[in-house]
C-alpha cells in the first residue's frame, strides 16, 4: 500500500515540476510580448479563473455542457447498443444496415451543424443532437465488434449444456461483448465531448463552448483560457469515469 502511495506521490511530483516549467516559460513569453489580450500572464489567468469559479459562472456552464453530454451518451447508447447487438447476431441484418451506417459515418457530427441549425435553431437541442450523432457511430461499431469477436467456444459450451438461444444471448454474448462495448464508450465520450465544444461555440446560448466564444468577443483572454482549461478538466474527468466503469464492470478484461 505504501509503495503505491509513494509511486503516486512521485509521479505527482514529476507532473507538478513539469507543469511548473511550462508555466514558467509561458510567463516569460507573456512578459516579453507584453500584450495582455494576446497572451496574459499566468497569475492574471489564475485570477480570472478564481473569479469565474467564485461566482459559479464557470461551474454553471460546465454543468450544462456535462448535462448535455450525459443525455447524448445515454441517447446514443440506447440507440446504438441494441442496433449493434442485432447487427452482430444476425449477419443478414448487418448486411442490410451496415452500408447505410458506413455512408453516414464519415460525415462528422460537426458537418451536420448547419443543417441541424436550420432544423433545431440555436438552443439545447442542437448540441445534444450533434453529440448524440457523434457518439452513435463508435458505440455501434464497438458493439458489433464485441459481439462478433465473442469466442465461439463460449457459445458452444453453453449450447452443449442445453442453454436456450435467448439465454445464450443474455448470459454469454452480452457479458463477453461488454469489454469491447466499454472501450467503444470511451471513444464515444471523447468524440462527443469534442463535438460539444464545436456545437456550443456555434449554436448554443450556454455551456463551456459558448463561454469560450463569449469572452473572446469581449477580448477577455484570461477568461477564455479559464474556460478552455475547464473543458480540458471535464474531458479528463469523463474519460477517467469511463475507465473506472471499465475496471469496475469488466475487471477480467486487460486494462487499457
Amino acid at each position: 500500500m505504501t509503495s503505491a502511495w509513494l509511486r503516486h506521490a512521485g509521479s505527482a511530483g514529476v507532473y507538478l515540476r513539469t507543469m511548473a516549467v511550462f508555466i514558467g516559460v509561458w510567463w516569460l513569453i507573456a512578459l516579453w510580448t507584453a500584450n495582455p489580450i494576446l497572451l496574459p500572464t499566468p497569475p492574471v489567468v489564475l485570477d480570472a479563473a478564481i473569479g469565474l469559479a467564485r461566482d459559479l459562472e464557470l461551474f454553471h456552464h460546465a454543468g450544462i455542457s456535462l448535462g448535455r453530454m450525459v443525455i447524448s451518451i445515454t441517447l446514443a447508447s440506447l440507440l446504438a447498443v441494441p442496433l449493434g447487438l442485432a447487427m452482430g447476431l444476425s449477419p443478414r441484418f448487418e448486411r442490410i444496415v451496415d452500408p447505410t451506417i458506413e455512408v453516414l459515418r464519415p460525415i462528422s457530427g460537426i458537418a451536420w451543424i448547419p443543417l441541424a441549425l436550420f432544423i433545431f435553431g440555436i438552443g439545447n437541442a442542437l448540441p445534444v443532437f450533434i453529440m448524440t450523432y457523434a457518439a452513435f457511430f463508435p458505440i455501434v461499431l464497438g458493439t458489433v465488434l464485441g459481439v462478433r469477436t465473442v469466442d465461439r467456444r463460449l457459445i458452444d459450451a453453453a449450447r452443449t449444456m442445453g442453454v436456450p438461444q435467448r439465454t445464450i444471448v443474455t448470459r454469454v454474448v452480452i457479458p463477453a461483448a461488454l469489454p469491447s462495448l466499454l472501450v467503444a464508450l470511451r471513444v464515444g465520450v471523447a468524440l462527443s465531448w469534442t463535438a460539444v465544444v464545436a456545437a456550443e461555440l456555434i449554436g448554443a446560448p450556454s455551456g463551456l463552448g459558448y463561454g469560450v466564444e463569449w469572452y473572446r468577443e469581449l477580448l477577455m483572454t484570461p477568461q477564455v483560457m479559464s474556460f478552455i482549461a475547464m473543458i480540458g478538466v471535464i474531458g479528463y474527468i469523463c474519460d477517467a469515469g469511463v475507465r473506472w466503469l471499465n475496471r469496475h464492470f469488466t475487471p477480467w478484461a486487460a486494462a487499457r
Binding site: 449444456m161 439465454t167 457479458p175
Partner: protein, 283 residues
C-alpha cells in the same frame, strides 16, 4: 489395411453401444477449392461406460468426430446416434470439455460450475437448495474446494481444467466428450490430472455405473494410460485405421506406466501413425 479396419470395427459392434457412428462422412466446402473431406466413411461404436480415446496426427478429423457426437456439427452423410437416437443438436446429456476450457471469465468458479444447472435444462426440477448442493458436491469431487470465489484468470492451468470438468459434470451427463483437455498443461501437471481424471470418472466402478467417455489426444502414452479402447485415425482424409483394446488392469496408476505391456502398446500404436506424423512435419 482397410480390411483389417472393417474387421476390427465389426468386432466392436455390439448391443450395448452407447454411441454409434455409422458410415459417417463429413465434407467441408471451401470457396474456390475442392471440398475437404474431414471424415471418410467412419463406423465406430462406443460402449456404455467405456473410456474410448481417439488418437491420430493433426488434421485427421478427430475434432470433427467429437463435434458431431456433441451435436455441434452434423454429418454430410451417415448417422450419429446416442442410445439408438439420432443426434441432431447439442445437449447436456453429452457434456463437452474444450481444449482451451472455454470458461466464462466474468463468472467465478462457482458461477461457471453452476451455469448449466442455472440456465439449462439439466437444472429443471432442482430448487435453489438442491442446485447449490450439487454444485458443492461437484466442486469437491474435482478437488476445487476453497476456490469457489476465484475467477478463471486467477487460476492455474490445472485448476481451470478442473473447473471446466466440474462445469460439465454438474449436469450429470451420460457421455463426456473431451477434446485434448490436457494439451495446454505442463508435463507434470498432465500426469497428475490424468490420475485425477480416472478417479473422477470412477475407474474402479463397473461399466454400467460409469459415464461413457470419448477423449481426444495427440499423446500416445496418455491414450494408453487412460483408455479401455483406442481408435487410431489417419489423415487426408480422416479414416479409422484400427481399434485397439487396452487390457491393462484398473485401477491404473503410476505403476501402470512402468509395465512392459504399456510400452508395447505405445510402440504398436506409434508404428501405426508414425509415417503420417512424419509426413505432416514436412508437408
Amino acid at each position: 489395411m482397410t480390411a483389417t479396419a472393417t474387421m476390427t470395427a465389426a468386432a466392436s459392434m455390439n448391443a450395448n453401444a452407447k454411441l454409434r457412428l455409422t458410415d459417417v462422412t463429413k465434407r467441408f466446402q471451401v470457396r474456390g477449392a475442392p471440398d475437404t473431406v474431414a471424415v471418410d466413411n467412419l463406423t465406430l461404436d462406443v460402449r456404455q461406460g467405456e473410456f474410448l480415446v481417439i488418437v491420430g496426427p493433426s488434421g485427421c478429423g478427430k475434432t470433427t468426430v467429437l463435434n458431431m457426437l456433441a451435436g455441434l456439427d452434423t454429418p454430410s452423410s451417415g448417422t450419429v446416434a446416442i442410445d439408438e437416437r439420432v443426434i441432431t443438436a447439442p445437449g447436456p446429456d453429452r457434456g463437452v470439455m474444450f481444449q482451451d476450457y472455454a470458461l466464462y471469465p466474468w463468472q467465478t468458479v462457482w458461477g461457471n460450475v453452476e451455469f448449466g444447472l442455472r440456465y439449462g435444462p439439466a437444472g429443471n426440477g432442482l430448487d435453489d437448495k438442491a442446485r447449490q448442493e450439487r454444485v458443492r458436491r461437484t466442486i469437491d469431487l474435482v478437488g476445487l474446494k476453497g476456490a469457489e470465489r476465484k475467477y478463471p484468470n486467477q487460476l492455474s492451468g490445472g485448476m481451470r481444467q478442473r473447473t471446466a470438468l466440474a462445469r460439465l459434470m454438474a449436469n450429470e451427463p451420460d457421455v463426456l466428450l473431451m477434446d485434448e483437455p490436457l494439451a495446454a498443461l505442463d508435463a507434470q501437471t498432465r500426469i497428475i490430472l490424468q490420475d485425477e481424471l480416472l478417479r473422477i470418472w470412477g475407474q474402479d466402478r463397473p461399466a454400467a455405473e460409469r459415464r461413457t467417455v470419448v477423449f481426444i489426444t495427440h499423446a500416445i502414452d496418455e491414450a494408453v494410460f487412460l483408455a479401455d479402447r483406442i481408435a487410431v485415425m489417419t489423415t487426408h482424409p480422416g479414416r479409422l485405421k484400427a481399434v485397439i483394446d487396452v487390457p491393462l488392469a484398473r485401477p491404473r496408476g503410476d505403476a501402470t506406466r512402468a509395465l512392459p505391456e504399456f510400452q508395447a502398446l505405445t510402440q504398436h500404436i506409434w508404428s501405426l501413425i508414425r509415417d503420417e506424423a512424419y509426413r505432416a512435419t514436412v508437408a
